[in-house]
Amino acid sequence: MSKPMTVVLGVIGSDCHSVGNTILNVFFTEQGFKVVNLGVMVSQEEYIAAAIETGAEAILVSSLYGHGEIDCAGLREKCIEQGLDDIILYVGGNLVVGKTDYSLVEEKFKKMGYNRVFSPEFPLEDMAELLRQDIRKRRQERENKD
């Protein structure tokens, strides 16, 4: 059996929406991931510290309350600063203020350095599969480098 996939989970900024986080925590655990759940109201620093401490391969950021644009900016840069250059960054939820065409949202957050951007309805099973693939790819790329 291969090394378990460790992921850091949390809701960013001043966001208190805890229901989706509860479900994601249970879901990823059931799917066989090792989940480090930071709960709600997580700062960028907390994500990074947890990722370093646990050797996580991905950070899964939620933002529901509308301030996602402000709160999520700069996380990629901070990761790089801290040596997490190639860590996988996923983000999902109600990412911007107001009902907005998903492709615009995706573009915005991809520019910020997130690898994948998810709308609230994206099927969780499919997402977990993508995550496994992305982690495997990253592991291979790292091996190739070595």
Binding site: G13, S14, V26, V40, G66, H67, N94, K99
Partner: protein, 481 residues
Amino acid sequence: MGDYKLSEQEFNKIRNEVLQTWPTGAEVDFDEAVEYQKAIPENKNFAKVLWKAHKNGVTLLQPRAGVALIKDHIELLQYLESEGEADLLPTTIDAYTRLNKYENAADGVEKSLAAKTSLLNGFPAVNHGVKGCRIVTESLKVPVQIRHGTPDARLLAEISLAGGFTSFEGGGISYNVPYAKKVPIQKSIDDWKYVDRLVGAYEERGISINREPFGPLTGTLVPPCISHVVGIIEGILALRQGVKSLTLGYGQGGNLLQDVVALKALKEVANYYFKKEGFEDYELTTVFHQWMGGFPADEAKAFAVISWGTAAGVMAGADKIIVKTPHEARGIPTKEANAQGIKCSKQVANLLQGQNILLGGRYQEEFDLLKREISDLMDKIYELGDGDIEKGTVAAFEAGTLDVPFAPSIYNNGKILPMRDNEGLIRIYNKGSLALSDEVMEYHKARLEERANYERRKVSFQMVTDDIYAISKGRLIGRTK
């Protein structure tokens, strides 16, 4: 009744500190504010308009709405007033202000100015100050309330009440446990004591200010007994500080019988405890929140949820209904979508107004059950507090005998798991340390077994997950497919 009132001395001491936490605090001059409030006509006073509706048996409708900039906010509220036919207006506060991060809010205002659109999820009333608030309230014809989710709302209350708002939502539990992560219960209760005392001070000067504890809590499968107990506690704490106009709330569960029973019982039971605590001189009204959990993304389906919420609220005899919008699942609504939510609700409310619908079936049984649950929980609180509700509440959260499902607060036990029964009533599957008697729990268990048998699966956490998603996926009960 003991004298739990915050002393004038203590109050003034805190006031001096609070008003200095952000520059706009300096704009508050209480005596001037009292004169300003006195000049507000009756039909713009929230407490009076709501009480009149109560006496006439009319259900009023109120949206949620707030954007970063004053001009846009006024345009939004005026639109909801005219095109949207709103009976009461809100000013929803942004999430940074809720956590007293006024610098972040200031940043949001600036970025919004630059982006020419609101990048905040509400109106940063503290940043806009007393003057900004007055510009808003003076532009409108109907009463306006501050709606937020702020554990420490002392500065917000000072500024907004001086700014002409005549109602203030929230409470020491309901604006902490569902909204915050690390605020101790005693801390938020103390901070809300200040807010209630401020309202009491206005009342003593002849100005009615409405206070509304936040009924729905986390909005997600909250059993009525839990939110009712929180409402009753916050009601008592508010009355102790001199609040006179009190609106207790309840978030729709979705099963009509449970919702009607819940709202009727809320009034009866709250009055019982208020009298027990020695209060006579207050005006109690109720607010029913349209479904507060996850919404369907499809707008036609969202309209269905909105309509059914209104129907349940009117049938339950609510004095006020808080209205959702067809954009709920997606984001802060545009003003058009917000108006649509109110118009849809208005049509349903007008279709039902005066129909005087009475439920039969298990009505009395459920009513008695709910009263029993509440008294189980309240008895424990009085016991833990040696007869004092405030002390008992803090102890109850610590012991988990009072527990809010899915809440982010680390001071909440977070062990109870609610679940729908076979008719969609919200029951308790895992009680954690909740102070419910075995008899009550056996009843819950039996109803849940009924569902499990029907669905041919075991009662399990998967059912909770299914129930959380159910309404957003188009049904009340999270059945297996």
